[in-house]
Symmetry: C2
Amino acid sequence: MKEPSAVADPPAVVDVAMPLPELNRDMEAALLQSEEGADVTFEVGGESFAAHRCVLAARSSVFRAELFGAMKESTAGGGKARVDGVEARAYRALLHFIFTDAVPELDGKDQETSSMAQHLLVAADRYNLERLKLICEDKLCKRIDVSSAVTLALAEQHRCPSLKKACMDFLYSPGNLKAVEATDGFEHLATSCPVILRELIAKLVAL
Amino acid sequence: MKEPSAVADPPAVVDVAMPLPELNRDMEAALLQSEEGADVTFEVGGESFAAHRCVLAARSSVFRAELFGAMKESTAGGGKARVDGVEARAYRALLHFIFTDAVPELDGKDQETSSMAQHLLVAADRYNLERLKLICEDKLCKRIDVSSAVTLALAEQHRCPSLKKACMDFLYSPGNLKAVEATDGFEHLATSCPVILRELIAKLVAL
Protein backbone atom coordinates (compact mmCIF):
# COMPACT_ATOMS: atom_id res chain seq x y z
CA MET A 1 0.00 0.00 0.00
CA LYS A 2 1.40 3.39 -0.98
CA GLU A 3 2.06 6.11 1.57
CA PRO A 4 -0.93 8.49 1.72
CA SER A 5 -0.21 11.90 0.19
CA ALA A 6 -1.94 15.13 1.16
CA VAL A 7 -2.72 16.16 -2.44
CA ALA A 8 -5.45 14.36 -4.38
CA ASP A 9 -4.18 12.47 -7.43
CA PRO A 10 -5.82 13.43 -10.71
CA PRO A 11 -8.54 10.90 -11.56
CA ALA A 12 -8.21 8.62 -14.58
CA VAL A 13 -10.43 9.49 -17.52
CA VAL A 14 -13.49 7.27 -17.85
CA ASP A 15 -15.44 7.63 -21.08
CA VAL A 16 -19.21 7.21 -21.16
CA ALA A 17 -20.55 5.91 -24.49
CA MET A 18 -23.12 8.50 -25.53
CA PRO A 19 -26.14 7.64 -27.71
CA LEU A 20 -27.06 10.08 -30.48
CA PRO A 21 -29.84 12.64 -29.88
CA GLU A 22 -33.22 10.92 -29.89
CA LEU A 23 -35.76 13.74 -30.08
CA ASN A 24 -36.47 13.31 -33.80
CA ARG A 25 -36.68 9.51 -33.47
CA ASP A 26 -39.09 9.75 -30.52
CA MET A 27 -41.18 12.40 -32.26
CA GLU A 28 -41.54 10.14 -35.28
CA ALA A 29 -41.94 6.68 -33.75
CA ALA A 30 -43.54 7.36 -30.39
CA LEU A 31 -45.68 10.33 -31.39
CA LEU A 32 -46.52 10.57 -35.12
CA GLN A 33 -46.50 6.84 -35.97
CA SER A 34 -47.92 5.55 -32.69
CA GLU A 35 -50.69 8.20 -32.74
CA GLU A 36 -50.76 7.97 -28.92
CA GLY A 37 -52.42 11.06 -27.52
CA ALA A 38 -53.34 12.29 -31.01
CA ASP A 39 -56.17 14.80 -30.77
CA VAL A 40 -56.93 15.80 -34.34
CA THR A 41 -57.57 13.86 -37.54
CA PHE A 42 -57.25 15.16 -41.09
CA GLU A 43 -58.91 13.66 -44.12
CA VAL A 44 -56.75 14.16 -47.17
CA GLY A 45 -57.43 12.57 -50.56
CA GLY A 46 -59.37 9.70 -49.02
CA GLU A 47 -56.76 8.97 -46.33
CA SER A 48 -56.87 9.78 -42.62
CA PHE A 49 -53.96 11.27 -40.70
CA ALA A 50 -53.98 11.51 -36.91
CA ALA A 51 -51.74 14.09 -35.27
CA HIS A 52 -51.14 16.14 -32.13
CA ARG A 53 -52.43 19.69 -32.40
CA CYS A 54 -49.92 21.15 -29.92
CA VAL A 55 -47.01 20.01 -32.12
CA LEU A 56 -48.65 21.22 -35.34
CA ALA A 57 -49.32 24.60 -33.71
CA ALA A 58 -45.75 24.88 -32.38
CA ARG A 59 -44.34 24.36 -35.87
CA SER A 60 -46.79 26.20 -38.13
CA SER A 61 -48.49 29.54 -37.50
CA VAL A 62 -51.24 28.47 -39.91
CA PHE A 63 -51.97 25.28 -37.98
CA ARG A 64 -51.91 27.35 -34.78
CA ALA A 65 -54.48 29.80 -36.11
CA GLU A 66 -56.68 26.97 -37.39
CA LEU A 67 -56.44 24.45 -34.56
CA PHE A 68 -56.60 26.91 -31.68
CA GLY A 69 -58.90 29.29 -33.55
CA ALA A 70 -61.33 28.78 -36.43
CA MET A 71 -61.30 24.98 -36.41
CA LYS A 72 -60.98 24.50 -32.65
CA GLU A 73 -64.61 23.56 -32.09
CA SER A 74 -65.15 21.53 -35.26
CA THR A 75 -62.07 19.34 -34.67
CA ALA A 76 -62.59 18.82 -30.93
CA GLY A 77 -63.91 15.48 -29.70
CA GLY A 78 -62.75 13.49 -32.72
CA GLY A 79 -64.17 15.67 -35.48
CA LYS A 80 -62.22 15.28 -38.71
CA ALA A 81 -60.76 18.21 -40.61
CA ARG A 82 -61.01 17.79 -44.37
CA VAL A 83 -58.08 19.17 -46.35
CA ASP A 84 -58.54 19.87 -50.07
CA GLY A 85 -55.92 20.77 -52.64
CA VAL A 86 -53.11 18.65 -51.15
CA GLU A 87 -52.25 15.08 -52.20
CA ALA A 88 -52.23 12.45 -49.44
CA ARG A 89 -48.56 11.55 -50.06
CA ALA A 90 -47.54 15.21 -49.80
CA TYR A 91 -49.56 15.61 -46.60
CA ARG A 92 -47.83 12.57 -45.11
CA ALA A 93 -44.44 14.08 -45.96
CA LEU A 94 -45.56 17.43 -44.53
CA LEU A 95 -46.53 15.86 -41.19
CA HIS A 96 -43.28 13.89 -41.14
CA PHE A 97 -41.32 17.12 -41.60
CA ILE A 98 -43.31 18.88 -38.87
CA PHE A 99 -42.53 16.12 -36.36
CA THR A 100 -38.91 15.44 -37.35
CA ASP A 101 -37.46 18.33 -39.40
CA ALA A 102 -36.51 15.75 -42.05
CA VAL A 103 -37.78 15.11 -45.59
CA PRO A 104 -36.55 11.66 -46.68
CA GLU A 105 -39.15 11.80 -49.47
CA LEU A 106 -36.85 14.25 -51.30
CA ASP A 107 -33.73 12.09 -51.16
CA GLY A 108 -34.13 10.72 -54.69
CA LYS A 109 -33.14 12.29 -57.98
CA ASP A 110 -35.94 10.95 -60.20
CA GLN A 111 -39.01 12.60 -61.70
CA GLU A 112 -41.14 11.23 -58.86
CA THR A 113 -39.00 13.14 -56.36
CA SER A 114 -39.34 16.36 -58.36
CA SER A 115 -43.09 15.91 -58.43
CA MET A 116 -43.11 15.40 -54.66
CA ALA A 117 -40.98 18.54 -54.23
CA GLN A 118 -43.52 20.53 -56.27
CA HIS A 119 -46.49 19.31 -54.26
CA LEU A 120 -44.66 19.70 -50.97
CA LEU A 121 -43.61 23.25 -51.86
CA VAL A 122 -47.26 24.18 -52.35
CA ALA A 123 -48.22 22.56 -49.03
CA ALA A 124 -45.29 24.18 -47.20
CA ASP A 125 -46.33 27.60 -48.49
CA ARG A 126 -49.92 26.99 -47.43
CA TYR A 127 -48.89 26.10 -43.85
CA ASN A 128 -46.17 28.76 -43.66
CA LEU A 129 -43.33 26.26 -43.19
CA GLU A 130 -40.58 28.45 -44.60
CA ARG A 131 -37.71 26.01 -44.10
CA LEU A 132 -39.56 23.14 -45.80
CA LYS A 133 -40.43 25.48 -48.65
CA LEU A 134 -36.75 26.38 -49.08
CA ILE A 135 -35.76 22.68 -49.01
CA CYS A 136 -38.24 22.02 -51.85
CA GLU A 137 -37.05 25.13 -53.71
CA ASP A 138 -33.45 23.98 -53.43
CA LYS A 139 -34.35 20.49 -54.66
CA LEU A 140 -36.20 21.90 -57.68
CA CYS A 141 -33.37 24.35 -58.45
CA LYS A 142 -31.16 21.31 -59.01
CA ARG A 143 -33.65 19.69 -61.40
CA ILE A 144 -34.27 22.37 -64.02
CA ASP A 145 -34.93 20.80 -67.43
CA VAL A 146 -37.29 21.11 -70.38
CA SER A 147 -40.26 20.19 -68.19
CA SER A 148 -39.61 23.14 -65.90
CA ALA A 149 -42.27 25.53 -67.21
CA VAL A 150 -44.55 24.14 -64.50
CA THR A 151 -41.81 24.75 -61.95
CA LEU A 152 -41.57 28.37 -63.10
CA ALA A 153 -45.31 28.86 -62.64
CA LEU A 154 -44.98 27.42 -59.12
CA ALA A 155 -42.02 29.69 -58.33
CA GLU A 156 -44.04 32.72 -59.42
CA GLN A 157 -47.23 31.75 -57.61
CA HIS A 158 -45.50 30.82 -54.35
CA ARG A 159 -42.87 33.56 -54.26
CA CYS A 160 -39.67 31.53 -54.64
CA PRO A 161 -37.10 34.00 -55.99
CA SER A 162 -34.19 31.55 -56.23
CA LEU A 163 -36.26 28.98 -58.10
CA LYS A 164 -37.63 31.64 -60.44
CA LYS A 165 -34.10 32.81 -61.19
CA ALA A 166 -32.92 29.25 -61.89
CA CYS A 167 -35.82 28.67 -64.31
CA MET A 168 -35.39 32.02 -66.04
CA ASP A 169 -31.62 31.51 -66.43
CA PHE A 170 -32.44 28.22 -68.13
CA LEU A 171 -35.01 29.75 -70.45
CA TYR A 172 -32.79 32.67 -71.48
CA SER A 173 -30.92 30.17 -73.63
CA PRO A 174 -32.94 30.13 -76.89
CA GLY A 175 -32.28 26.42 -77.38
CA ASN A 176 -33.85 25.67 -74.02
CA LEU A 177 -36.72 28.10 -74.61
CA LYS A 178 -37.56 26.42 -77.91
CA ALA A 179 -37.74 23.00 -76.24
CA VAL A 180 -39.79 24.25 -73.29
CA GLU A 181 -42.13 26.30 -75.48
CA ALA A 182 -43.35 23.05 -77.09
CA THR A 183 -44.45 21.48 -73.76
CA ASP A 184 -47.93 21.42 -72.22
CA GLY A 185 -46.40 23.03 -69.15
CA PHE A 186 -45.64 26.14 -71.18
CA GLU A 187 -49.31 26.44 -72.12
CA HIS A 188 -50.11 26.27 -68.41
CA LEU A 189 -47.46 28.88 -67.65
CA ALA A 190 -48.78 31.22 -70.35
CA THR A 191 -52.30 30.96 -68.94
CA SER A 192 -51.49 31.13 -65.22
CA CYS A 193 -48.59 33.60 -65.25
CA PRO A 194 -48.75 35.75 -68.40
CA VAL A 195 -46.54 38.32 -66.72
CA ILE A 196 -43.69 35.81 -66.91
CA LEU A 197 -43.93 35.73 -70.73
CA ARG A 198 -43.57 39.51 -70.74
CA GLU A 199 -40.42 39.23 -68.62
CA LEU A 200 -39.01 36.53 -70.88
CA ILE A 201 -39.56 38.53 -74.07
CA ALA A 202 -38.04 41.66 -72.56
CA LYS A 203 -34.93 39.71 -71.58
CA LEU A 204 -34.63 37.87 -74.91
CA VAL A 205 -34.79 40.99 -77.08
CA ALA A 206 -32.04 42.52 -74.96
CA LEU A 207 -29.64 39.60 -75.63
CA MET B 1 -30.12 36.42 -80.18
CA LYS B 2 -28.28 33.11 -80.41
CA GLU B 3 -29.29 30.39 -82.86
CA PRO B 4 -31.62 27.87 -81.13
CA SER B 5 -30.00 24.49 -80.49
CA ALA B 6 -31.82 21.17 -80.19
CA VAL B 7 -30.03 20.16 -76.97
CA ALA B 8 -30.93 21.89 -73.72
CA ASP B 9 -28.04 23.86 -72.21
CA PRO B 10 -27.15 22.85 -68.64
CA PRO B 11 -28.77 25.24 -66.19
CA ALA B 12 -26.67 27.58 -64.04
CA VAL B 13 -26.44 26.62 -60.36
CA VAL B 14 -28.65 28.73 -58.10
CA ASP B 15 -28.04 28.29 -54.38
CA VAL B 16 -30.86 28.55 -51.88
CA ALA B 17 -29.79 29.84 -48.46
CA MET B 18 -30.99 27.15 -46.03
CA PRO B 19 -31.91 27.90 -42.41
CA LEU B 20 -30.76 25.46 -39.73
CA PRO B 21 -33.17 22.79 -38.44
CA GLU B 22 -35.82 24.38 -36.24
CA LEU B 23 -37.55 21.48 -34.49
CA ASN B 24 -35.72 21.93 -31.18
CA ARG B 25 -36.24 25.71 -31.25
CA ASP B 26 -39.96 25.33 -31.95
CA MET B 27 -40.35 22.64 -29.32
CA GLU B 28 -38.76 24.93 -26.74
CA ALA B 29 -40.18 28.34 -27.59
CA ALA B 30 -43.54 27.56 -29.15
CA LEU B 31 -44.43 24.53 -27.03
CA LEU B 32 -42.67 24.31 -23.66
CA GLN B 33 -42.23 28.04 -22.98
CA SER B 34 -45.48 29.24 -24.54
CA GLU B 35 -47.46 26.49 -22.77
CA GLU B 36 -49.99 26.66 -25.64
CA GLY B 37 -52.03 23.49 -25.70
CA ALA B 38 -50.46 22.28 -22.43
CA ASP B 39 -52.68 19.65 -20.85
CA VAL B 40 -50.94 18.66 -17.63
CA THR B 41 -49.43 20.63 -14.74
CA PHE B 42 -46.84 19.41 -12.27
CA GLU B 43 -46.24 20.90 -8.84
CA VAL B 44 -42.60 20.53 -7.91
CA GLY B 45 -41.00 22.16 -4.86
CA GLY B 46 -43.61 24.92 -4.75
CA GLU B 47 -43.35 25.70 -8.48
CA SER B 48 -45.79 24.83 -11.25
CA PHE B 49 -44.73 23.41 -14.63
CA ALA B 50 -47.18 23.10 -17.51
CA ALA B 51 -46.41 20.59 -20.25
CA HIS B 52 -47.89 18.51 -23.05
CA ARG B 53 -48.58 14.92 -22.07
CA CYS B 54 -48.18 13.53 -25.61
CA VAL B 55 -44.60 14.81 -25.78
CA LEU B 56 -43.73 13.59 -22.28
CA ALA B 57 -45.15 10.15 -23.13
CA ALA B 58 -43.26 9.98 -26.43
CA ARG B 59 -39.97 10.61 -24.68
CA SER B 60 -40.31 8.72 -21.40
CA SER B 61 -41.90 5.31 -20.81
CA VAL B 62 -42.49 6.30 -17.18
CA PHE B 63 -44.40 9.45 -18.16
CA ARG B 64 -46.34 7.34 -20.69
CA ALA B 65 -47.36 4.82 -18.03
CA GLU B 66 -48.32 7.58 -15.61
CA LEU B 67 -50.06 10.04 -17.90
CA PHE B 68 -51.94 7.53 -20.03
CA GLY B 69 -52.40 5.10 -17.15
CA ALA B 70 -52.45 5.57 -13.40
CA MET B 71 -52.56 9.37 -13.40
CA LYS B 72 -54.77 9.82 -16.47
CA GLU B 73 -57.95 10.61 -14.58
CA SER B 74 -56.39 12.65 -11.75
CA THR B 75 -54.52 14.95 -14.15
CA ALA B 76 -57.32 15.39 -16.68
CA GLY B 77 -59.27 18.63 -16.72
CA GLY B 78 -56.54 20.74 -15.14
CA GLY B 79 -55.74 18.55 -12.13
CA LYS B 80 -52.19 19.06 -10.88
CA ALA B 81 -49.73 16.22 -10.39
CA ARG B 82 -47.51 16.69 -7.36
CA VAL B 83 -43.94 15.45 -7.72
CA ASP B 84 -41.88 14.79 -4.60
CA GLY B 85 -38.19 14.03 -4.34
CA VAL B 86 -37.08 16.24 -7.24
CA GLU B 87 -35.87 19.84 -6.96
CA ALA B 88 -37.74 22.43 -9.05
CA ARG B 89 -34.59 23.49 -10.93
CA ALA B 90 -33.82 19.87 -11.82
CA TYR B 91 -37.41 19.34 -12.99
CA ARG B 92 -37.16 22.42 -15.20
CA ALA B 93 -33.96 21.05 -16.75
CA LEU B 94 -35.60 17.63 -17.17
CA LEU B 95 -38.55 19.12 -19.08
CA HIS B 96 -36.16 21.19 -21.20
CA PHE B 97 -34.26 18.06 -22.14
CA ILE B 98 -37.46 16.18 -22.97
CA PHE B 99 -38.59 18.93 -25.36
CA THR B 100 -35.21 19.78 -26.93
CA ASP B 101 -32.67 16.97 -26.32
CA ALA B 102 -30.34 19.63 -24.88
CA VAL B 103 -29.07 20.27 -21.32
CA PRO B 104 -27.57 23.78 -21.24
CA GLU B 105 -27.76 23.59 -17.44
CA LEU B 106 -24.72 21.27 -17.56
CA ASP B 107 -22.53 23.57 -19.67
CA GLY B 108 -20.61 24.98 -16.70
CA LYS B 109 -17.66 23.53 -14.82
CA ASP B 110 -18.43 24.80 -11.33
CA GLN B 111 -19.73 23.05 -8.22
CA GLU B 112 -23.24 24.27 -9.00
CA THR B 113 -23.15 22.38 -12.30
CA SER B 114 -21.98 19.20 -10.59
CA SER B 115 -24.81 19.52 -8.10
CA MET B 116 -27.28 19.94 -10.99
CA ALA B 117 -25.82 16.88 -12.72
CA GLN B 118 -26.35 14.82 -9.55
CA HIS B 119 -29.97 15.89 -9.15
CA LEU B 120 -30.68 15.50 -12.84
CA LEU B 121 -29.16 12.02 -12.89
CA VAL B 122 -31.60 10.96 -10.17
CA ALA B 123 -34.54 12.49 -12.07
CA ALA B 124 -33.40 10.94 -15.38
CA ASP B 125 -33.24 7.52 -13.77
CA ARG B 126 -36.68 7.97 -12.26
CA TYR B 127 -38.23 8.82 -15.65
CA ASN B 128 -36.17 6.26 -17.58
CA LEU B 129 -34.41 8.87 -19.72
CA GLU B 130 -31.32 6.81 -20.46
CA ARG B 131 -29.55 9.36 -22.66
CA LEU B 132 -29.98 12.17 -20.13
CA LYS B 133 -28.72 9.87 -17.40
CA LEU B 134 -25.59 9.11 -19.48
CA ILE B 135 -25.03 12.83 -20.12
CA CYS B 136 -25.12 13.46 -16.35
CA GLU B 137 -22.89 10.44 -15.73
CA ASP B 138 -20.36 11.71 -18.26
CA LYS B 139 -20.40 15.18 -16.69
CA LEU B 140 -19.81 13.76 -13.22
CA CYS B 141 -17.04 11.43 -14.47
CA LYS B 142 -15.13 14.58 -15.47
CA ARG B 143 -15.55 16.14 -12.01
CA ILE B 144 -14.23 13.51 -9.64
CA ASP B 145 -12.60 15.13 -6.59
CA VAL B 146 -12.48 14.79 -2.81
CA SER B 147 -16.21 15.54 -2.57
CA SER B 148 -17.06 12.57 -4.74
CA ALA B 149 -18.14 10.10 -2.06
CA VAL B 150 -21.69 11.36 -2.64
CA THR B 151 -21.22 10.79 -6.36
CA LEU B 152 -20.14 7.22 -5.69
CA ALA B 153 -23.26 6.57 -3.64
CA LEU B 154 -25.34 7.96 -6.52
CA ALA B 155 -23.51 5.78 -9.04
CA GLU B 156 -24.21 2.69 -6.95
CA GLN B 157 -27.86 3.51 -6.26
CA HIS B 158 -28.69 4.43 -9.86
CA ARG B 159 -26.63 1.77 -11.65
CA CYS B 160 -24.03 3.98 -13.40
CA PRO B 161 -21.07 1.62 -14.06
CA SER B 162 -18.78 4.20 -15.73
CA LEU B 163 -19.29 6.70 -12.93
CA LYS B 164 -18.72 4.06 -10.30
CA LYS B 165 -15.48 3.04 -12.02
CA ALA B 166 -14.28 6.66 -12.20
CA CYS B 167 -14.96 7.17 -8.48
CA MET B 168 -13.38 3.86 -7.47
CA ASP B 169 -10.27 4.54 -9.60
CA PHE B 170 -9.95 7.83 -7.75
CA LEU B 171 -10.33 6.24 -4.32
CA TYR B 172 -7.84 3.44 -5.02
CA SER B 173 -5.16 6.06 -4.56
CA PRO B 174 -4.59 6.11 -0.78
CA GLY B 175 -3.93 9.87 -0.82
CA ASN B 176 -7.34 10.46 -2.32
CA LEU B 177 -9.04 7.95 -0.03
CA LYS B 178 -7.61 9.66 3.03
CA ALA B 179 -8.97 13.03 1.91
CA VAL B 180 -12.39 11.63 0.98
CA GLU B 181 -12.68 9.56 4.13
CA ALA B 182 -12.70 12.78 6.19
CA THR B 183 -15.76 14.23 4.37
CA ASP B 184 -19.41 14.09 5.45
CA GLY B 185 -20.14 12.48 2.11
CA PHE B 186 -18.11 9.45 3.14
CA GLU B 187 -20.31 9.02 6.22
CA HIS B 188 -23.31 9.09 3.90
CA LEU B 189 -21.68 6.56 1.59
CA ALA B 190 -20.83 4.24 4.46
CA THR B 191 -24.43 4.33 5.67
CA SER B 192 -26.22 4.10 2.33
CA CYS B 193 -23.88 1.75 0.43
CA PRO B 194 -21.86 -0.33 2.94
CA VAL B 195 -21.15 -2.85 0.18
CA ILE B 196 -18.98 -0.22 -1.50
CA LEU B 197 -16.71 -0.05 1.56
CA ARG B 198 -16.24 -3.82 1.30
CA GLU B 199 -15.25 -3.45 -2.38
CA LEU B 200 -12.83 -0.65 -1.53
CA ILE B 201 -11.09 -2.60 1.22
CA ALA B 202 -10.76 -5.70 -0.95
CA LYS B 203 -9.13 -3.63 -3.66
CA LEU B 204 -6.81 -1.73 -1.30
CA VAL B 205 -5.42 -4.81 0.43
CA ALA B 206 -4.63 -6.23 -3.01
CA LEU B 207 -2.51 -3.20 -4.00
